[in-house]
Symmetry: C2
Subunit: 483 residues, 2 copies
């Protein structure tokens, strides 16, 4: 139930959204639909990203793109269609992706001699070109990033979180040494972590994936894991050290400074529209989305209440002042829509700050500033309204991040007993446990608890012996149920 208020404070309860407590998945679906973020495509598992959702993605893209370019990577484009034979060159890779492939068998009215795969990811095709482009150690490192769409057949689709087609960036790099590839993998993990924390205001746990969760063909996969408000984890981005596997499969070799021919080492790393799902489920509340100002298409909406000239002028003036200060401001001048409906709209869409401008306050030289995160209102002098809103944006960005960090910390528990984990994990949260790394123990964990190792973390194990096997502990891991 959502409180829908009229202009003068009368509160009308209307069922705008299912509440999070009542049914979290239904709440998620409601927010995605009501905030006009996305819609199901006509083909099962595909997605229409509506203008509000896409504008959020554009802001995320622009920010991430700057960070990626700052590392020295350059953007490029590679083909959507990949010959099936390319995928087959790296054994683990094709095994991992085969069940998810979409295959083109006909083109230009004829059956094709070789079926084409719609890219599920671009390692195979890009490494084919890397082999042509890399000749000497002077060509290294070679760092390429792609913004594109990929297809992985999805049996249990969910908008943003699991879709057959999704938008993402995939980075691919080639290095002279294995160590350089390790360093790049870690550097991009850090780029991702900073993006998630600074831009998305989402606190994440970072660490290496266990073998069962590794990317198909990688030596090491690192991940950023966020905790959603329902206690489930979401993998928000991954960075893979591909070592020499793809370089051998595609024959990427270079002449080193001494004239020896050597195999290069490669990496890949990616983040996708899935992160929008993370933003919804980390920051959203029973009234809709709460957008971090950094990715809010409208950071401030100035609501003109009433059609009096002076109200219209004051609205315009505040919007102009905000824009001059570099704030993404929008004037809501709708005269034929009720105040309650307009308020609910902007709350659903997660606009960080609203400024309400009406004749009564105007007469008192005031406007009302409303924070979306805390849903608190306060009157401010009209002249200072734009500045007040601007100051709030920074505060809201910080508050959302702090809330996310506190929530993750409060829902991360050490666990030393498998029965306890089994009982508690269904309620959500992340569990810090000691792990031996023994083969088969991951599968046993997931079959017994429905949870998985989200990542290996850099922390002391809570017990000397493995939670699953009782053997000596080698790693500290974070365990949880995940999207």
């Amino acid at each position: 139930m959502c409180r829908r208020h009229t202009r003068r404070g009368r509160i009308v309860a209307t069922a705008v959204l299912t509440s999070q407590a009542e049914n979290f998945p239904a709440w998620y679906q409601d927010v995605v639909a009501r905030a006009e973020l996305a819609d199901n495509g006509p083909v099962r598992g595909t997605m229409v990203i509506r203008p509000w959702g896409y504008a959020i993605w554009e802001l995320m893209q622009a920010d991430m793109d700057r960070r990626i370019k700052a590392t020295g990577a350059q953007n490029a484009a590679f083909p959507l269609f990949i010959p099936m034979s390319f995928l087959e060159k790296e054994k683990q890779h094709v095994e991992g992706f085969s069940p998810e492939l979409a295959v083109v068998t006909h083109g230009g009215g004829e059956q094709l001699a070789e079926p084409l795969v719609v890219r599920p990811t671009s390692e195979t095709v890009i490494n084919h070109y890397f082999a042509k482009w890399v000749q000497s150690h002077r060509d290294l490192p070679l760092m390429i990033n792609l913004w594109n769409n990929v297809v992985r057949w999805e049996l249990r689709p969910r908008l943003f979180l699991r879709t057959t087609e999704f938008l993402w960036q995939e980075g691919h790099t080639v290095h002279a040494t294995y160590d350089d590839a390790v360093a790049e993998t870690r550097r991009m993990l850090e780029v991702y972590q900073r993006f998630m924390e600074e831009t998305l205001a989402i606190s994440v746990a970072v660490g290496e994936k266990s073998p069962d969760e590794r990317f198909a063909g990688a030596d090491h996969t690192f991940t950023c894991e966020a905790l959603m408000r329902d206690g489930k984890a979401l993998q928000m981005g991954t960075s893979h050290n591909l070592g020499h596997s793809f370089a051998r499969a595609f024959d990427i070799r270079y002449l080193d400074a001494r004239g020896h021919r050597r195999y290069a080492a490669t990496t890949s790393w990616g983040t996708s529209t899935r992160m929008i799902g993370g933003v919804i489920m980390v920051h959203g509340d029973d009234h809709g989305l709460r957008l971090p100002p950094s990715i809010a298409p409208h950071q401030v909406v100035v609501m003109q209440l009433g059609e009096e000239n002076e109200v219209a002028e004051a609205t315009e003036r505040i919007v102009a002042e905000l824009r001059a200060a570099g704030v993404r401001a929008h004037a809501d001048t709708r005269a034929h829509t009720s105040f309650g409906r307009r308020t609910v709209d902007w709350e659903l869409k997660g606009v960080p700050v609203r400024i309400e401008v009406g004749a009564r306050e105007l007469a008192a030289g005031q406007a009302t500033v409303v924070r979306r995160d805390t849903r608190t209102k306060r009157p401010v002098p009209l002249d200072g309204a734009a500045r007040a809103a601007e100051g709030l944006l920074e505060e809201i960005q910080r508050t959302l991040f702090e809330d996310s960090r506190t929530f993750r910390e409060q829902h991360t528990h050490p666990v030393t007993d498998l029965d306890e984990l089994t009982q508690r994990v269904g309620d959500g949260g992340l569990y810090l446990a000691a792990w031996s790394g023994a083969e088969g123990s991951e599968r046993a964990l997931s079959e017994g608890t429905g949870a998985t190792i989200r990542c290996i973390v850099d922390a002391d194990p809570p017990a000397p012996t493995c939670l699953m096997t009782g053997e000596p502990a080698k790693y500290t891991v974070l365990i949880g149920r995940a999207y």
Copy 2:
């Protein structure tokens, strides 16, 4: 043959590129390869856009995106896969696109119940959603733009010009009245024309397409046609008035202010990576690309000649000064590559201005500024080098446009005799002719001359009777061979 010069003016002739006069198509291929713009994909007709080519595309995108958003359109994303049944809803549309479709028949390891088309364009899927989103006249106009990839099977592929997969923007709008759709179609044509003239520095002829050249399903198609240096035309962008065809096929209706249910009218408009081919063939010369500064990834390259400290410092200082002025500047500090090779590289890549900084000039308080368009060098005082380069950028942008306009005007000829046209058209150029519009006359023209009507223009016909049929003239058309 390209003149390759050493630092001190010695000129060495090396065959960097085939010359335009010798073999224009080979010249084009050479430029695309040597300027590292693109490469053929592994699947026939597909394309790898390399970092230099993609950086140009990003600058074009950013500029076009601003122009499109300024019209009130919003970006969104629609699915890559479209059910075959959607295409079949608009008869002319499916007939037009059927021969070019790529079809997915298998997904997730199973044969699909209904084959999926990889979008050749998105009218069908987007109009399906427009029907859901448009209810009232208050929802109109609805203006959506997509930046994505589309696939049209291509039997005679050519990098950028005709590729099976290409990147583009496609705009789709819904309007209350047919007249509103006409106005939108014309407005976007003008947006495109201004983009091509102001940003790409390419002069274009604009006008309506004749029936044989219309978009499949459109009532009217408008086009921007540019003239390449080999005298062939290139269609650079099109804007379609779809009238009521798609609204009827997809049932897009709305309640007007009086409560009557009416069919909406729709438009679509698109420009693609093909425009990069136009930039190459309009501005390029025997030394490579000549980029308009507005889309040059490096607008100025400052070449450090020699490793002396003061040379390195002067290089850095100039780059910093340029960047502070908002110029995209790059320092070329390569010590192990010959001066000649470095110069040839930047000429091939079309960098508008180079500044050469060496010890000898430095001692005289000077640097050398080189224009790519005219290939002229002049010494400038070191302190004024950045400012001089900055001033040149505006001049080069203007000069390239003026050159393109002069070239198009000089190669546009009125023609009143079909034999004359048949004889001359093979040498290239555009021909202004009188046309009756009679059915069948377009096909006869193309069979007889290998040329087509590029567009109907707003000009007096050069003769009272049709060039093809001798009937009274109704239109003035531009005729030419085209890519």
